[in-house]
Amino acid sequence: MTLMILLLGLGAGVLVGLLGIGGGVVLVPAMVYLLGMDQHLAQGTSLFILLPPIGLGALREYWKQGQVDLRAGILCALGMLFGALGGSLVALPMSSRNVKGLFGCFLVLSAILLWRKAQVETRAPIAGGERAHG
């Protein structure tokens, strides 16, 4: 069990670096389905994991490439600090079942946004590249 948790962390970490996300979005379902946790417990534990700067190692790699907008990042951190408090006050009184269902809807929404972003990106180089139409 302990080994499985350690490996789970490593796998989530690769996604953190690769996609620039916190990893909670994969950790929460993993804890619910693989470790059999309650939805609220998985979410609280995920928030705990995000407390130390787990993305620092990954950030260093992006920093070396100059791919960081520090000012925007700080603004985002500020907004997220208070937004997160508000969100937790909404979710805590809800039943675990409803939070779980909403989490599912949220994942679908994120998937659509990520997919759209990827589409926007693929279109741009093709239009400007080999086929100079229009």
Binding site: L19, L47, N98
Partner: protein
């Protein structure tokens, strides 16, 4: 400088929305922040990811965590076991992201999220 102010206010607003999702679902919020920075503020993908990692360095979930801890919804032991792996994996992923064209990877990830989300919503409500 009005334009810069507007952009800052926009980013702050988007961050608040990501924060609400973060507290509601116990996540970092990067999964929402990265595509929104790209779609709304035309960040390049790598820049959006790097910036999202900055936003995740300070303990933005601290206030939300306290609210969950008060209700006893934190498994401290599992958390401690997960942290080292995530840190090390993060470095590996960061190096990998420079080498890969992460576009296909992201599409695959979007697909996995979609399936996972549908499954989770159904398993919660479909009885």
């Amino acid at each position: 400088m009005a334009e810069g102010m507007g952009r800052n206010a926009g980013i702050l607003t988007v961050a608040c929305i990501c924060g609400i999702a973060s507290g509601m679902f116990g996540i970092g919020g990067g999964v929402l922040l990265v595509p929104l920075l790209g779609l709304l503020f035309s960040f390049s993908q790598h820049r959006a990811q790097g910036t999202s990692l900055v936003a995740l360095i300070p303990p933005t979930g601290a206030l939300a965590l306290m609210a969950y801890a008060r209700e006893g919804f934190v498994s401290w032991k599992t958390g401690f076991l997960l942290i080292p792996g995530i840190f090390l994996g993060g470095i590996a992923g960061g190096m990998l992201a420079e080498k890969l064209k992460p576009l296909r990877m992201r599409q695959v990830f979007a697909g996995i999220l979609f399936v996972l989300g549908t499954w989770q919503a159904l398993s919660a409500w479909w009885r």
